[in-house]
Amino acid sequence: MKKIFPPTVHLAVTLVWFIVALYMIFLYAPRELTMGEVQRIFYIHFPSACTALLAYFFVFLGSTVYLWKRSRAADDFACASAEVGFIFCCCVLVTGPLWAKPAWGIWWTWDARLTSTFILWLLYIAYLMLRSYVVNPGRVEVLSAVVGVIGFVDAIIDYMAIRWWRTQHPQPVIAGGPGSGLEPRMWLTVFVAWGAFLCLFAYLVRQRMALAELRRGVGALRRELVS
């Protein structure tokens, strides 16, 4: 992977993709009639939310594989996904209220979607706190993997909330049934922006996994020096 697609090339591709996405968001996508310019927040809010949910799915996947096979790579992947997913979840919780205030007149409401997203954010924090506070090797991986698996229930509820209940949050744009959807240029902009976010997510996870590998190398050398 490193040889085929080095991190510097990956970063360059991500930056170029973001420039294209920003061009499309501000110059290509049409102005929404009812909400006006503020609707453009959607182009970062939606990809951040999808990426944060996908990241938790990766946490679940990595945790399940770790519990089953005790694979160190799976644990590294779960941990990296959790840390980067948390960053994307922060973006969701920042951009959401900034869109809600002009659109609804309120910053926040405890409806099913918003509450389950907030719980997802807390789950990310719980997972990361567990990783940093439990120092017992072997035990920390198992405990965080259990949180990763159990917490996935909330990720499913978060995804389904606007389909199961009537919420203040808008109904789904993708796979939302008849009447849902966007203007074609808006669709294209959303997908390009989402692609840029996914590329950034992959880059950050990669860097975070490289960090875990380096930490392991330092640990091994420390033990060698002590022995």
């Binding site: 927040i41 980067v84 960053i87 869109w99 490289a210 960090l211 020096l225």
Partner: protein, 47 residues
């Protein structure tokens, strides 16, 4: 007023990503230096 929200949303998102990327690279550099120090210590220790 509405454009202020748009500006704030994009600014915060970039700020969050920049801070995280800076934090990861800082941790990476710190570990890399530590690894080099430890490697030197291992090589120089009496056998």
């Amino acid at each position: 007023m509405v454009n202020t929200f748009l500006f704030l949303a994009y600014s915060f998102v970039w700020l969050i990503f920049m801070l995280y990327a800076w934090n990861v690279s800082r941790r990476y550099e710190k570990l890399r230096r530590e690894l080099e120090d430890l490697k030197a210590k291992v090589e120089n220790r009496p056998k």
